[in-house]
C-alpha cells in the first residue's frame, strides 16, 4: 500500500493538486459531480426512513469524501477514509442496525412540538452563517500540497505524528483502548440468575397451565408436509400451534381443509353432467359438516 501511495504521489494528479490559486478543470468537474452525490447522500442519510438505507447513503458520501481527499493530495487519509470509515465504522453501524432491528423510532413523524421548525431554522441559519463566514474570509491564493507532500505524504504525516503530535498520538492510543474496554463493559451482560434446568422449565410449564406436550408438527396431510400447512385436529379443524409463529404473524398459513371437498365437488359435477342428473354445486360445499349431510341424502337417494 505504501508503494501504491508513493506511486500516486508521483502521478500527475499530484502536480494537478499542487498547482496554486486555481485548480484544474478536471478537478472542478470531478468536484461538481461528486459534490452533488455527496450532498444527495447526506440528505439521504437524514431523510431515509429505514436506518439501513441511511447507513448506505452515508457510506456513499464517505466514499465521495475519500475521493476528495485523494484529489487534494491527502492520500493516506483518503485510503484510511475508505478502509476505516467506509470499511469498518459503517459496517459496525450496519451490525448494530441488524442487532437493534426495526423500531418505532424509524418513522419520520415528528413528536416534539415545534422541534422540526426550530431544527430547520437553527440548521439553515447556522449553515448560512458558516457559508457567509467562509465567504468573507479571503481565500483566493493557496499553496498546494505539493512541497508538503514532497518526500511522500505518508512520511510527512508520520514525521508530524511522531514529532510534533506525539503526545496527542499517545493520548489517542489510550483513548482507543479505553473506548474498546468501555464498549465491552457496556455491552457485556452479567448472568444474574442460575440457568434454569429442564426440570424447572417443565414444572413451570405445568404450573402455568401451558401446553405440556410437545407442539404438533405441521404438514400432517398425506399429500402435504409443507411448513406452512397446519396440522389437522381430530375434529377436522386445524391447529395453528403447529405452524411457526413467524408465518403465523405474517398470516401466511395455508388452509387446506376445504380444497379436498372442493375437488370432490368438482368430481360430482362432472359425474352429474355425465349421468345427467342434478348434483351438488361446488359453491354449496363449504365445510366438512355439509359434506356429511350431502353424503347422507345421497345415501337415501341411493336407497330409493
Amino acid at each position: 500500500m505504501m508503494t501504491a501511495l508513493s506511486t500516486l504521489a508521483s502521478s500527475p494528479a499530484v502536480q494537478l493538486a499542487a498547482t496554486t490559486s486555481r485548480t484544474s478543470t478536471g478537478e472542478a468537474v470531478q468536484f461538481w459531480v461528486l459534490a452533488t452525490i455527496a450532498v444527495l447522500g447526506a440528505l439521504g442519510t437524514v431523510l431515509m426512513k429505514k436506518s439501513v438505507h441511511s447507513a448506505l447513503s452515508l457510506a456513499g458520501t464517505m466514499i465521495v469524501l475519500a475521493v476528495f481527499y485523494l484529489a487534494q493530495g491527502a492520500y493516506f487519509l483518503g485510503i484510511v477514509q475508505i478502509v476505516v470509515y467506509t470499511g469498518a465504522i459503517m459496517m459496525l453501524f450496519l451490525f448494530v442496525v441488524m442487532l437493534v432491528g426495526i423500531t418505532a423510532a424509524d418513522s419520520l413523524k415528528e413528536t416534539l412540538k415545534g422541534q422540526r421548525w426550530m431544527a430547520a431554522g437553527c440548521g439553515i441559519g447556522f449553515g448560512i452563517l458558516l457559508i457567509a463566514g467562509i465567504g468573507n474570509a479571503s481565500l483566493d491564493t493557496f499553496a498546494g500540497a505539493g512541497q508538503a507532500n514532497s518526500g511522500g505524504n505518508v512520511q510527512g504525516l508520520a514525521r508530524l505524528v511522531f514529532t510534533n503530535y506525539v503526545w496527542a498520538f499517545e493520548i489517542t492510543g489510550a483513548l482507543l483502548i479505553t473506548a474498546a474496554v468501555g464498549a465491552m463493559v457496556l455491552t457485556h451482560r452479567e448472568r444474574t440468575e442460575e440457568r434454569r434446568t429442564q426440570r424447572e422449565l417443565s414444572e413451570a410449564r405445568v404450573r402455568d397451565g401451558l401446553q405440556v406436550t410437545p407442539l404438533p408438527p405441521p404438514g400432517t396431510y398425506a399429500r402435504h408436509n409443507a411448513v406452512d400447512i397446519p396440522a389437522l385436529l381430530p375434529d377436522g379443524s386445524t391447529s395453528d400451534l403447529s405452524v411457526s409463529s413467524t408465518l403465523r404473524d405474517r398470516g401466511q398459513i395455508r388452509d387446506v381443509s376445504t380444497d379436498a371437498m372442493r375437488r370432490l365437488a368438482a368430481l360430482d359435477q362432472s359425474a352429474a353432467e355425465w349421468l345427467g342428473r342434478k348434483g351438488l354445486k361446488a359453491e354449496d360445499v363449504t365445510g366438512a359438516g355439509e359434506i356429511a349431510t350431502s353424503a347422507s341424502d345421497r345415501a337415501e337417494e341411493g336407497a330409493k
Binding site: L112, Q115, L129, G133, N136
Partner: protein, 634 residues
C-alpha cells in the same frame, strides 16, 4: 493623700462587689460589712477634709489620675479624680448621710430576706455617687451619673415582686435616660468644640470663648440643663420622683432626697463657667427652677401619702437650688448650701416618715395616722425639728439657706428678679402650708388608723435605737448646720474659690426679704392649722377643688405622658411591627415569589428531550459564530 481619693470610691465599690457576688453565705453579716465600708469611706472623707482645711484656700484642689479609660487618638478619657471644696462638700454629705442611713437600714430592713442585697445596692450607690462628684472630667462624671441611675433603679425596684415597684423603677431609669441624652450630647459638643471634656480644659476655655462659640456654649448649657432636669426631677422630667417612693424608705431618704437628686445642682454649679458664658441657658435654668419649686410645692399640698408629700417637697426644694444655681455667681454658693442643709432635714424627715411607717405596718396614708406624737416621741421630735428647718423657722438651717436664695433671686435684678423672688417667697409660703399639713395630719389630732386588710390593728411604737439615733443626728444637723455655715459667711468663703461669688445688689433690703418671708411663713402655717389643725381630718379624702384633684394626679403630668408618649409609642411600635412584616419583608418575599414564577415558566424549556437540548445548543453555537463574525466585521 491622692490615693485616699481612689480608696474613697473603692471602699463602697468593694462592699458592693463582695455583697452581691458573695451570695447567701453573707446574709448574716452582709449589712454590717456594708455599713462598715460606708463608715470607712466617711472616715477617709473626714481625713481628706482635715487635710484640705490645713491648706490655703487656693491650693486645696487635689487631683489624681488612676489610668486611661478610653484612648482613641484625640479622645482621651482618663479615670481621674479632682477633689476641691465643692466635691469635698458633696463627699462629706454623701458619705456622712450615707453612713447614717446605712445604720438606719440595719433596723429598717431587719425582716427583709434580701437585706444583704439591699446593702450591696446601697454601697454601689455610694460608689457611683462619689465617682460622680469626684470625677475630673465630664465623661467619667457621666459614668457616675448613670451609675447612680442604675443604683436608684435597683433600689426603687428592690421589692420586685410588687409590679408597682418594678414599674416605678423602670420609669425612673427611662426618664433619667432622657436626661442622659442631654449629658452625652453636651459631652460630644464639648469634644467637638474644645477637643476635650475635662473640667480643667473645658471650663476655662468656655470662660474665654469668643462670640463665635457663643451658640455652641449655649447649646451645651441647655443640654446640661436637660441632664439636670432628668436627674433632679425638675419640670418637665419630674414625673419619676413621686413613683420612686415605691422604694424602701431609707432609699427615698438617701437617694431621692439627700444626694442623687441633687446631682443636677452639682452639675450646673460645676459647669458654672459655661452657664456664665451662656445667659440664655441661665434664663432657662432659673425658669425651670422657679416653675418646679411651685409645681412641687403644689403637688406636695395635695398628697395624702406621706412619702409622696415629702417627694413633692423635695422636688420643690431642689427647684430652689436649681434656681439659685441659675442665678450665676450670686447663687451657686447658696444653692450648694441649701443643698447641704436640705440633705440634713429632708433625710431626717424621710427617716421619720420611715419610722412612722415602721410603727404603722407600712401604712403610708396620712389620713390613717393622727396623734402619733404620744406613741413615738423621738420620731415626733426629730421630725418636728426637720419640719421647722424646712419651713425656714428662724435660726434653723432652712431659714439661713432659703432666705439667701430668695435674696439672691431678688438680687438678680429687673423684672426677672422680682418674678423669681416672688415665686421663691410664694413657694416658701406653700412649703410652710404643706409641711404643717403633714405635721398635723401625722402627729396631731386623734388617731384615725383602722385594721388593715388582714385585720391587724396597727400598734404604733417607737422604732429601735438603731433607727432613732441616725434620726437624732440628722436632726442636730438640720438645726445647727445653717447657722454654722452662715456664721460670718463661712460657707461662702469655703466655696468661693471654686464656684466664684459676687454680692448682688438687691432692690429690697435683706431685712425686708426676711420679714416678708416670715409673714408668708406664718400665713402658710395658719391656713394649714385652720384646715387640718382646728377641725378633725376626714379619714377619706374629700373630692376637693379642681386644683387639688389635679395636684393629686401630679398636675396631670403623668396623664399627659401616658396619652402622648406611652399610647403614642405603643401605636408606633405596633404599626412598625406590622409594616416590617408586611411591607419590608413583603417586598422581598414578593420579588422572590415572582422570580419563582418566572423560573417555573423557564423550567418548561427543560423538557428532558435530548433533541430540544441539541437545538438550543446549535442555536447557541450559531449565536457565537454570528458574534465572532460580527466582531471580525467591525
Amino acid at each position: 493623700m491622692e490615693t485616699l481619693i481612689g480608696l474613697l470610691v473603692a471602699a463602697p465599690l468593694l462592699g458592693a462587689a463582695v455583697l452581691l457576688i458573695g451570695g447567701r453565705r453573707l446574709d448574716r453579716s452582709g449589712h454590717l460589712l456594708g455599713t462598715l465600708l460606708a463608715l470607712v469611706s466617711f472616715a477617709f472623707a473626714v481625713v481628706l477634709f482635715a487635710d484640705m482645711l490645713g491648706k490655703s484656700a487656693d491650693h486645696r484642689t487635689l487631683t489624681s489620675t488612676l489610668f486611661t479609660w478610653v484612648p482613641v487618638e484625640s479622645f482621651q478619657a482618663q479615670v481621674g479624680f479632682q477633689l476641691d471644696q465643692l466635691s469635698m462638700t458633696f463627699v462629706l454629705l454623701i458619705t456622712g448621710v450615707g453612713s447614717l442611713i446605712h445604720i438606719y437600714s440595719i433596723g429598717y430592713m431587719e425582716h427583709d430576706e434580701n437585706r444583704r442585697k439591699f446593702f450591696g445596692f446601697l454601697n454601689l450607690f455610694l460608689a457611683a455617687m462619689l465617682l460622680l462628684v469626684l470625677a475630673d472630667n465630664y465623661f467619667l462624671l457621666y459614668a457616675g451619673w448613670e451609675g447612680v441611675g442604675l443604683a436608684s433603679y435597683l433600689l426603687i425596684g428592690f421589692w420586685q415582686h410588687k409590679p408597682s415597684a418594678a414599674t416605678a423603677a423602670k420609669k425612673a431609669f427611662l426618664v433619667n435616660r432622657v436626661g442622659d441624652i442631654g449629658l452625652s450630647v453636651a459631652i460630644m459638643l464639648m469634644f467637638t468644640t474644645f477637643g476635650s471634656f475635662t473640667f480643667a480644659d473645658v471650663l476655662p476655655a468656655a470662660a474665654k470663648a469668643g462670640s463665635a462659640q457663643h451658640a455652641t456654649i449655649t447649646g451645651i448649657g441647655f443640654m446640661l440643663l436637660l441632664a439636670a432636669c432628668g436627674k433632679s426631677a425638675q419640670v418637665p422630667l419630674q414625673s419619676w420622683l413621686g413613683d420612686a417612693m415605691e422604694g424602701p424608705t431609707p432609699v427615698s431618704a438617701l437617694i431621692h432626697a439627700a444626694t442623687m437628686v441633687t446631682a443636677g445642682v452639682y452639675l450646673i454649679t460645676r459647669s458654672g463657667a459655661i452657664f456664665n458664658a451662656a445667659p440664655d441657658a441661665q434664663v432657662a435654668v432659673v425658669t425651670v427652677g422657679a416653675v418646679t419649686l411651685l409645681f412641687g410645692a403644689i403637688v406636695g399640698c395635695a398628697k395624702d401619702d406621706i412619702k409622696k408629700a415629702l417627694a413633692g417637697s423635695t422636688m420643690s426644694q431642689i427647684g430652689y437650688m436649681i434656681m439659685a444655681a441659675g442665678l450665676g455667681p450670686i447663687g451657686y454658693v447658696f444653692a450648694i448650701m441649701h443643698l447641704v442643709t436640705h440633705g440634713f432635714f429632708k433625710a431626717g424627715l424621710f427617716l421619720g416618715a420611715g419610722s412612722v411607717m415602721h410603727g404603722m405596718n407600712d401604712e403610708v396614708d396620712m389620713r390613717r395616722y393622727g396623734g402619733l406624737r404620744k406613741f413615738m416621741p423621738i420620731t415626733f421630735v426629730t421630725f418636728g425639728l426637720g419640719y421647722l428647718a424646712i419651713i425656714g423657722f428662724p435660726g434653723l438651717s432652712g431659714f439661713f439657706s432659703k432666705d439667701k436664695i430668695i435674696e439672691a433671686a431678688f438680687a438678680k435684678g429687673g423684672t426677672e428678679g422680682w418674678i423669681l423672688g416672688g415665686c421663691a417667697m410664694l413657694g416658701a409660703a406653700i412649703t410652710a402650708f404643706y409641711m404643717t399639713r403633714v405635721m398635723l395630719m401625722t402627729f396631731f389630732g386623734e388617731k384615725r388608723w383602722v385594721p388593715d386588710a388582714e385585720g391587724h390593728e396597727p400598734h404604733p411604737h417607737e422604732s429601735p435605737s438603731v433607727m432613732t439615733i441616725p434620726m437624732i443626728i440628722l436632726a442636730f444637723g438640720s438645726v445647727f448646720a445653717g447657722g454654722l455655715f452662715s456664721l460670718n459667711s463661712r460657707f461662702v468663703h469655703w466655696l468661693e474659690p471654686v464656684t466664684g461669688y459676687s454680692e448682688g445688689d438687691s432692690p429690697v433690703s435683706t431685712g425686708a426679704v426676711t420679714a416678708g418671708t416670715l409673714v408668708l411663713l406664718v400665713v402658710g402655717v395658719g391656713i394649714a392649722w385652720l384646715m387640718y389643725g382646728r377641725r378633725p381630718v376626714p379619714a377619706v379624702a374629700p373630692r376637693g377643688s379642681l386644683l387639688t384633684r389635679a395636684a393629686r394626679r401630679d398636675l396631670l403630668q403623668d396623664d399627659f405622658n401616658h396619652v402622648v408618649l406611652v399610647r403614642g409609642g405603643e401605636h408606633l411600635t405596633r404599626s412598625l411591627v406590622y409594616l416590617d412584616h408586611s411591607l419590608v419583608d413583603g417586598v422581598v418575599n414578593g420579588t422572590a415569589a415572582s422570580v419563582g414564577g418566572l423560573s417555573g415558566r423557564l423550567r418548561k424549556l427543560q423538557n428532558g428531550y435530548v433533541r430540544s437540548y441539541a437545538v438550543s445548543m446549535l442555536g447557541g453555537t450559531a449565536v457565537v459564530v454570528a458574534a465572532t463574525l460580527l466582531m471580525r466585521a467591525v
